[in-house]
Amino acid sequence: MPNKPWLSEGLTEKEYEMIVDLLDRKPTTTELGIFGVMWSEHCSYKNSKLILKNLFTEGECVLQGPGENAGIIDIGDGQAISFKIESHNHPSAVEPFQGAATGVGGIIRDIFTMGARPIANLNSLRFGELNNDKVQYLFKGVVSGISSYGNSIGIPTVGGEVYFSSAYEGNPLVNVMSVGLLKKENIATATAKGEGNSVMVVGAATGRDGIKGASFASDELSEDSKEDRPAVQVGDPFMEKLLLEASLELINTNSLIGIQDMGAAGLTSSSAEMASRGNSGIEIDISKVPTREKNMTSYEIMLSESQERMLIIPKKGKEQVVKDIFNKWDLHAEVIGRVNDDGMLRIFNGEDKVAEISAKILADEAPEYRRETKLPEYIKNVNEINANDIKSEDYNNDLLDLLSSPTIASKKWVYEQYDYMVMTNTVVGPGSDAAVIRIKGKDKALALSTDSNGKYCYLNPRRGAAIAVAEAARNIVCSGGKPLAITDGLNFGNPMNPEIYWQFKNSVEGITKACKKLDTPVIGGNVSFYNESPKGAIYPTPIIGMVGLLDSLKDKTTMHFKNEGDLIYLIGKNVEELGGSEYLELKEGKVDGYVPQLDLNLEKRVQKTVREAIKENIINSAHDCSEGGVAVNLAESCFENNLGVNIKINKEISNKALLFGESQSRIIVSISKELASKLENIAVENCVPYGKIGVVEGTQFKFNNLIKLDVEEMKVKWETAIEKKL
């Protein structure tokens, strides 16, 4: 062994000493490799566990909280929904197409491992500014990777978000959320139990790809990341489709003790985690694992991250059931070992024992670190933004410029590459606030959304993260649903940096606060640290993926204006706030200012108002007011049906804040004249400020005396902006 063998496995000397202590001897090469990945950030959450413990994870609807491959919630009628978000940032930075594709494959496996049929995917993406070849390459590659994998496997990609900011240059974020439907009685778990039960590996053969991907994800990107080439995995959506069908068929036969996908750290983490959950041990003979390449070492087989594989513990005597089903789908299914009752993970290569470690130590006893936090310097220098600080000549141009900035512009270029209709459940696809997916055979549907504004989280992590939760809920409500639960994708820089850790800690606190107030527990998620490039850390980006329920399809609501003559109401309050806004960055090139206030009590009441109005079936559209402010949000509602608006708002605040400020807890709705008083009553009952701000009319966009534009012209700019940059 080399001098400091722990180094190449990403372990510290202290950790190495712990290992020697725990084993009471020096580890073998294979054992050290196993510790390296199991104790990596990616698998062990060693730097985040203590903070994540504070998340709000309880609720009536929760059937499975954090701790399994994915969480599960109850949606009534004996049905349940499993969902989770996962990042694939570093692989996508190195090879955007395959990185993103295998990210999709990985999260889908987490869902069907739970016994759920994946019915929708969402993706939350962050890139640098589009005026750079490298960024364009990453952007195009990631989108086509997601498209290729998701379309081929036949799961609709129904929503998501894309932001562009130089903070993500060199370290893009690729987070994918998958949502599955299952019968409550079919919930599968990732447990290994029952001495003597077989351990089987199913799906693809094992190759040398992605060895040590987990440790790779736990490191900063540097110039030599290109040398991490062996870590690049190629996805095979066709294989995964077969694996999906075979696994669900198998789970339905009730022949299983446990099933677990092989994601990060492959065979190592799946076996250690399954054993640990069942308070058992596992013995594996790696010479029985089907391999794709010749002469693979035990180290390689244990650490390979070849995709599209699962580990299965069948009930006694059910091995043949597993084989028959997998063979029907032309897939491998091999017995590679057995469950034991002494808690040890024992790896043999034929007769030779190559590793022997307690599964609990690997899976649960990684060190836990409470890292140092420090208020970041830049936060001290955040300034209040005054409307006069922003120079503007012409609000018409400002609005057109905002509509054609890639972050705000239509994401059609992206989502038209995604099959968002396959499975024929997509009632509302990409392009409105939340996607709406019906549940066949029932008069109900899911509303799905992902949200996070990295700028807000940078300027004020606590509030920014809370806003992400609030906004996700608002999106669900605007689409006609009741917010139920969330999954969180926490993307941050290097946790060893106290300023980054401060961002992390505060973000989690913000999420917790908002989740409690809005009664949307966290049922699972993912942490991705070390998102840095030589230029520095990304904005802290806690992405919230939320699932809501429409208990009747007639509640389905979109953001588009529908009828000439409808009145437009703004529910909520306009405040003099321009901090962290898109407008500020567009005009002054600055990310600065106080992030908009978030009054969670008001938020709740605003959402309740709109939800009640939707339930009463009185409103024709609802749109959450977010990036770009009232002007942009009104414009977005005009486009689908080419309808204009005539807006007259009494102003108590500056024109700039009125048009482009991003105050929270606001929803714009349209309603026919006759029903308007009903809406006003609901708002009054809920003690919510509201204002009648205009009417749907003509084909022009008119806003006080400040803006007058043709909707068609705005729409063309908005729709073609991204394409034009490429």
Binding site: S144, Q417, M423, R438
Partner: protein
Amino acid sequence: MKAGVVTFPGSNCDADVFHVLKNIFNIDTKMIWYKDKNIKGYDLIVLPGGFSYGDYLRSGAIARFAKVMDPIIDFAEKGGLVLGICNGFQILLESNLLPGAMKVNDNLKFVCKNTVLTVINNKTPFTNQCEKSAAIEMPVAHGEGNYYIDKEGLKELNENNQIILKYKNKKVNPNGSINNIAGICNKERNVFGLMPHPERCSEPLITPGKSDGYNIFSSIISFINKRGGKIAK
């Protein structure tokens, strides 16, 4: 009447067509496994959309050799109705049940969106409930839908009125197909392949006001009912 929907390894719109036939039209519908060699008793066979065998080489190229294709070719040759949607269309081309070939979309990207189409021929088992020259809407979702046929082939298609559906014009043609072709049938009119997905717009619920796919299926059903459930010839 009895309909069969084929599942190839990797098919992913098989359940969608099944749902429409079974639950919207209440037709006796069965799934057919790609290894089946016996497909007796059907009035309609659907080759569904999606991806077969991953479509890594060429769409439909490997599926064309699945065991089930021999009896299907036989069924088609005897006059049985065969509907190929998207990947199903590609498989029909690969197996020479329809003429021509599919190239990758002109812009090289997968495209998923609603398209406006014109019904060119409504005197077929598949379009008899559609109005001729009517503009209809159906979604497409494919990466290889750029239909190609050589000059003589095209002439023949035209002469025999085999072109059934076209994208309304070049501007809305999502893939660059020759003459904006979106769907064709064979000379005998019993095999129909199209790139758009009628099964995705057969329910007002999910495509309000735009349920033009419904008419494709109701055409087929009405044709079969008139024929008395018997295969021609």
